[in-house]
Amino acid sequence: MHSMNTVVLVKGVPDFREGKVSFKEDNTLNRGATPTVLNPNDRLALAAALELKVKHGGSVRLVSMGPPNYKTILREAMEVCGDEAYLLSDRMMGGADTLATAETIAAGIRKIGLPDLVIAGFKSADGETGQTGPQTAWVLDFPIITHVVSLEVDEKARLVRARRTAGDDIEEIEAPLPCFIVTDPGFTAVFRSATNRLRLLRLGEETVARASKIDSVFKMWGVADLGVDPKKIGLKGSPTIVNKVEPIPVAAKERTAQVVDAKDAGQLDEVARRIVQLVRG
């Protein structure tokens, strides 16, 4: 029987807790100067992959694009879930915006072999665009379900059943495999069976062990390996540029209360006017 093949897209993001991010001359992010960590939302994509692996078996491959030191990101991701890790890394891929990134990642996924499912997390913590997932799906010509909060696969019918948030509504979606899933920050894996929970524990331990020896399951591919059109990737394949970066001034907020005596009608009127002004402004 066919077993589920899943690809999870993961990304490194600057760790905003430490120091300040810096930028290069062309205003792209200077990643070298900022510590990089796994994008927090990607953990939900990995959790979704792990849920499916617990319930259906199969393999989970992790794909990321970035400089060679992103191996640590893949390792961090593998501690959640992953059998193999692929890093798409090449100077020519640098400075890519979302469209160029989608082209590159799609090429990487094609080289691995088209899976049953591609899962991405919602929005990265740095770019915050939420575009790469849908664009990658489009390049791959996969049906896509975004904002997925829970997920089921019917292996026999080759169907994905998902629940997704849509504004104030919740939708139940059906789509054929292969399919592209973007998890919502509200995604939750659901395990109602004790056997599956035990399996989850075991797979969790296995993947942590695997992550500590990532070299044996790690591959790094450059532009030549992917055979991707150089015009579609990197700075060249990117329609957008970051033209200007300005710091947002954050005023340290120290409040000193103006004390108003409620019995003083004049003062109360003044407060009322101030409130109205603030509300309207």
Binding site: A125, Q135, I173, K236, V279
Partner: protein
């Protein structure tokens, strides 16, 4: 010093298109906000560049005639409408395909290649279709913008302005500057979508944070050009199916409110009356009502009419909702640390409290000393006066 040359795109681009998202037959508020901003941007553009380019709304859905008219009345000159039962609920793939076909196609209105600009709402669906539509049209976009303007811009860029191994400065005309708060609010970035020497990148597009812009006053009866988009999609374009759609249980979302009136245990001596006063004050200001943890746990015996305001879903604080409105009015809240954590990012904090030693005073901008049962009615009247007239006042 050489004089910078000016870039000329290869294709023919016109107009600002706006994807007007609708939900259950109603525009999401951001759709009208974008139409307003598009109108303002293009009116200025037409003056600055002595041009006559239009605001084009895209309205996809089922039974959209009303929406089409509404788009005209909110500033659209042209509406691309597709009316089909399959579009009743938003599904990404068919919508993207229809949108891309309209943007690329030629018709009785459109003779140019592609739109010059394209705005999308930065809602869940809007962000998704902005991404797939630009993947389909092979152009670029900025997401979650809240400041937009159009001007010529001199650019030096290692790829886009490299000519014979020299990075030149080239002036790109009519560039949409898309500003977005970036990196979790650390930076402002200005994103531009710039043609490449070998390939044009148009439309220049972005998604717009809801609430960033003001809609136009509705001009009843305003007319425009309607272009009907044919729904010519097959099975393979509609792989994703909605099996069921249902309302989430109603939630009170205070996190996005601009004005909040919060009620605390100061109402204890007469809870029903205290809540009523708070609700009336909130209504006068167009605000919503929050409560402190103390009110939740007190389980005051109150009239059924105000019971909904004592429920945990309205709780503000560390274990409730974290709010940051423009104005936060706290009535009878002492200001425990757990409450503070949920509201001290508010821009202006106004408190009414009879206890001068209450901790909340320490993080108030205005502290009104007095019994809320006496102060609130007076404050409400003062606000109504400030709004202009006892009954005429509305925010």
């Amino acid at each position: 010093m050489s004089v910078a040359s000016t870039w000329t795109p290869k294709g023919n681009y016109r107009d600002m298109w706006v994807y007007c998202e609708q939900n259950h037959g109603k525009f999401v508020t951001c759709s009208l906000e974008m139409l307003g901003e598009a109108r303002r941007l293009m009116d200025k553009y037409n003056v600055d560049y002595k041009a006559d380019e239009k605001v084009v709304a895209v309205v996809f859905g089922h039974k959209v005639d009303g929406l089409v008219q509404e788009a005209f009345e909110h500033g659209a000159d042209v509406v691309y409408a597709c009316d089909h039962p399959a579009l009743e609920n938003f599904i990404l793939e068919p919508q993207t395909k229809l949108l891309a076909a309209a943007a690329r196609g030629k018709d009785h209105y459109k003779s140019y290649d592609e739109p010059r600009y394209f705005l999308f709402p930065a809602t869940n669906n809007g962000r998704d279709i902005s991404a797939t539509a630009m993947a389909a049209l092979e152009s670029g976009l900025a997401s979650d913008c809240n400041v937009l303007y159009i001007s010529d811009e001199p650019i030096k860029h290692p790829v886009k302005t490299r000519r014979n191994e020299v990075i030149e400065e080239i002036v790109y005309p009519r560039i949409l500057h898309m500003k977005r708060p970036d990196f979790s609010g650390f930076e402002w970035s200005t994103i531009l979508c710039i043609d490449d020497p070998d390939k044009d990148f148009h439309p220049q597009s972005c998604s717009v944070i809801p609430g960033s812009f003001k809609p136009l006053e509705r001009a009843a009866g305003r007319k425009g050009v309607r272009v009907n988009v044919a729904f010519n999609l097959g099975e393979k374009d509609q792989r994703v199916k909605i099996v069921k759609r249902e309302r989430l249980p109603i939630e009170v979302d205070l996190t996005k409110r601009e004005v909040i009136v919060a009620i605390g245990r100061g109402i204890g001596s007469n809870p029903t009356q205290g809540i009523k006063l708070g609700v009336e004050l909130a209504q006068a200001l167009g605000a919503d009502v929050g409560i402190s943890r103390g009110v939740v746990t007190a389980k005051y015996p109150v009239d059924a009419s105000v019971q909904q305001y004592t429920k945990e879903i309205r709780q503000i604080g560390e274990t409730g909702q974290m709010v940051k409105p423009k104005v936060y009015i706290a009535l009878g809240i002492s200001g425990a640390i757990q409450h503070k954590k949920g509201m001290d990012k508010s821009k202006t904090i106004i408190t009414v409290n009879s206890e001068p030693s209450a901790p909340i005073k320490e993080f108030s901008d205005v502290y009104i000393h007095g019994d809320l049962f006496e102060v609130v009615p007076k404050l409400k009247e003062a606000i109504q006066r400030a709004l202009g007239g006892k009954n005429g006042g509305k925010v």
